[in-house]
Amino acid sequence: MTECRTPEMQDLLPDYVSASLDATVAALVEQHLSTCDPCRDDIAVLRVARAVRPKAVTLDVAQIVANLPRPTPVLRLVRSSSEAAPIVASTTTSARSRPRRRWSASVWQVAAAVGVMIVGGTSMIVARNSPNSLTGVRSGDAQLAEAAESVLARTPGVSVSYGDLGDYSEAELQHMLDRLEKWDGTSSAEPLPTLPVVSTPGGSAP
């Protein structure tokens, strides 16, 4: 017999020689070897082959370790390299979305300007129809007025009432409208038109 008839066993011979088989499988291999001449020949060759060991090379373990990179501690508060890519991507994305953001801002500026003009115009209409006060028309201003009054009411000898658009002349009102029409809404630093504060003798705010 020149060939092993159980190639699965023949494949295990190197593991058998290196003693890396568990006991059960090793026993099966030994049983096979008792009946298979080619595999016994292989075992003899493999044992010699394992004995061929090159002369030991002197290695300086300490030197090798000293040259190794250090472990990198994981810092949770610092962006890791894996997060760098999304940052780049988001930069690119934000650059792309910038025109849309500008467009949105300009829309809001126009809307704000239109809103101011509508409020101003409404105020004029109300003022003409009701020359007494604005406090009943604009609830937000009313709250602001109440707050201001509560502070100012503590000042002795001075009571405050709020002027209305009826206090303005036609020329002043026209000037205000012209300014509103010219206002492009871009300057948030521009002071809003203020109503005159008129001191009146005696009394207190309601």
């Binding site: 190197p14 890396s20 499988v25 004995a51 061929v52 090159p54 290695l59 090798i64 190794l68 990179p69």
Partner: protein
Amino acid sequence: MIHAEQTDDASVDGALITQWMAGDERAATAIVERHAGALARFAVRLGVNGDVDELVQETFIRAFSALASFRSDSSLRTWLFTIERRLVIDRRRATARRGREVDIDDGHAATEYDALDALVADEAAQRMASAIGRLTRMQREVFTLRVQEGRSYKEIAEILESSEGAARVHYHNAMRVVKEFLDD
């Protein structure tokens, strides 16, 4: 079939890697001590003779630089062999480009393995070294990994970036060549 020894190795290596990643530098020493000898032997069997220590050093540096990406589904030693073999191939290619070596083909296998002749002890071992020197480069690598390093076909396939079937064929062809040489 259970490779109990290799399973234990993998678990020990896994624990050492975890310790090293946590900042314990003593684990690096333990890892190097466990595998440096095998890497040196493998290097010599691949035909490296002059700067084995340098090659082993470079292998560990490469490995530790990428240790975070090491997946324990293969053994650390298999992974180290893979890195070392790639380094050897890179060096051979670089040498070939410089013209010091015309080509790395199977015909040079015996010459590359001649370095072992002076290193082995007795006559039988010398004959075996000569027989191994007759093998093609791929046969010799498979034979070395299978017989002398005790790697499985699966691990050999991983190291050689080939298939288990190809590794098995190379092994049996190598065995045939070796036995024929020894019978002459």
